[in-house]
């Protein structure tokens, strides 16, 4: 796995979409892979919560016949948290303040997620 490429993708997304405050990449079981978060946020807790939330949303989508889950977004009065699946066993959580354009985030996040998935699967596809 190319650590440098991975962190560059996370940082570029934050630079690209105005209002992104933090990003974290985590395995589906809640194990933190990488965090670009402020000191006020516990990245381990964020990873666990995001993994649990996405798992629940995926099962809800399946149980209600809503098709493949795209993302979950939690809105608060001071911003929102969007969680995206990366392949089957990882996910990315993006935090933004109330100024962030969520539609723009979704558009910008898709190619980033595809590239992150490729980076994370590099070694696995080599037979490890």
């Amino acid at each position: 796995m190319d650590h440098k490429a991975l962190t560059l993708e996370m940082r570029t997304l934050r630079e690209q979409v105005t209002g992104i405050t933090d990003t974290a990449l985590t395995a589906a079981d809640g194990l933190l892979i990488a965090a670009d978060t402020a000191d006020t946020i516990d990245p381990e807790a964020l990873a666990a919560l995001a993994a649990a939330g996405l798992g629940l949303a995926r099962r809800t989508a399946a149980a209600t016949d809503r098709g493949t889950l795209r993302q979950t977004v939690t809105y608060g009065s001071h911003g929102c948290a969007a969680t995206y699946a990366v392949g089957d066993t990882a996910l990315m959580v993006v935090l933004g303040d109330e100024g962030m354009d969520v539609d723009r985030l979704h558009l910008a996040a898709r190619p980033t997620l595809d590239r992150i998935e490729s980076i994370l699967t590099e070694k696995a596809s080599e037979g490890v």
Binding site: H3, R11, H78, D101, T121, K123, A124
Partner: protein, 301 residues
């Protein structure tokens, strides 16, 4: 402004000036979407600008909520009361959170601040959106020429400072040496408490519930006075997994579910197959029900 704006930036700015001038001449009503970074939407009524919304500047809602004038739960209650509107003006006044004049000022400040954010950023394109409606318009619209001149003047003022910054570029942090905060102003102390090497002036404006122009100017002054620093390299992101660890597998198509084949005939029931009849049959020894009745009626003579 000219000091930090390249030719692409000037071209984008000229595009915005022309688009808004056309809207003014044609007395256009609707939205003018500005794509770029941060971009935004100018809302016009009969050619005058009545609201500007941009991800680059806190809107009226963020200014009220982040400044602590109203809490998140109270805001949610007001939105519910007002039938789901994004700007519960009547409720804010009726519950005494702010006066009508204060709210008018908040809307005017937010309009000018968002226009500054759009002008100080990069403009890629402008597109008319006739159906767009603002959620917190001002009663008296502004001519676009005056609005853009005001925004450009503010951007030029910041560019002329000894340490010019752009609202969404520099990410200052506290200085290495400990500062004596006694001589600092309220805004300076507030900003010192929020800077972390990750947040831009725009991010700090949202966190403190203040105008992005005010915060950008103050950040520029504090950088010039050594009250803040800008790191040459961003804070590194730690990756927790070893380089050779496989993390994800690609989504494989789910295997087809086993085909259900309906039986051609109904299943046949065999009497006694469940064994229930053996359980209920009285015991052959005679010590079953007969013995029970003997016990109830006394011993037979």
């Amino acid at each position: 402004m000219s000091g930090i704006r390249d030719s692409r930036g000037r071209a984008g700015h000229d595009l915005l000036v022309r688009a808004l001038a056309t809207c003014g001449r044609e007395e256009f009503t609707g939205g003018l979407r500005v794509s770029g970074r941060p971009g935004g939407t100018f809302h016009l009524r009969r050619g005058l600008v009545v609201a500007v919304e941009s991800p680059g500047a806190p809107g009226p809602e963020a200014l009220l909520l982040r400044s602590g004038r109203i809490g998140g739960e109270q805001w949610a209650d007001l939105v519910r009361e007002s039938g789901g509107t994004r700007w519960p003006l009547d409720g804010l006044i009726a519950h005494g959170y702010a006066g009508a004049a204060q709210l008018r000022i908040v809307c005017v400040l937010a309009l000018h601040d968002a226009a500054f954010a759009v002008v100080a950023g990069d403009v890629d394109d402008c597109e008319l959106a006739p159906d767009e409606r603002p959620f917190a318009p001002v009663a008296l619209g502004e001519p676009s020429v005056r609005l853009l001149q005001d925004a450009a003047r503010k951007a030029a003022a910041i560019a002329a400072l000894p340490y010019p910054v752009r609202p969404d570029r520099e990410r200052p942090r506290p200085p290495a040496q400990v500062l004596d905060e006694a001589g600092l102003g309220l805004l300076q102390r507030e900003l010192l408490g929020q800077v972390d090497g990750r947040r831009t002036a725009r991010d700090l404006a949202f966190r403190t519930g203040r105008a992005v122009y005010t915060v950008t100017a103050e950040v520029a002054r504090m950088l010039a006075e050594g009250l803040l620093e800008c790191a040459d390299t961003p804070v590194p992101i730690a990756v927790r997994l070893p380089p050779d660890a496989p993390v994800v597998r690609r989504r494989e198509p789910e295997p087809a579910a086993p085909q259900f084949t309906a039986p051609t005939a109904l299943p046949r029931r065999n009497p006694g197959a469940s064994g229930i009849t053996e359980t209920l049959v009285p015991e052959k020894s005679g010590a079953g029900w007969k013995g029970f009745f003997r016990m109830r009626n006394g011993t037979p003579k």
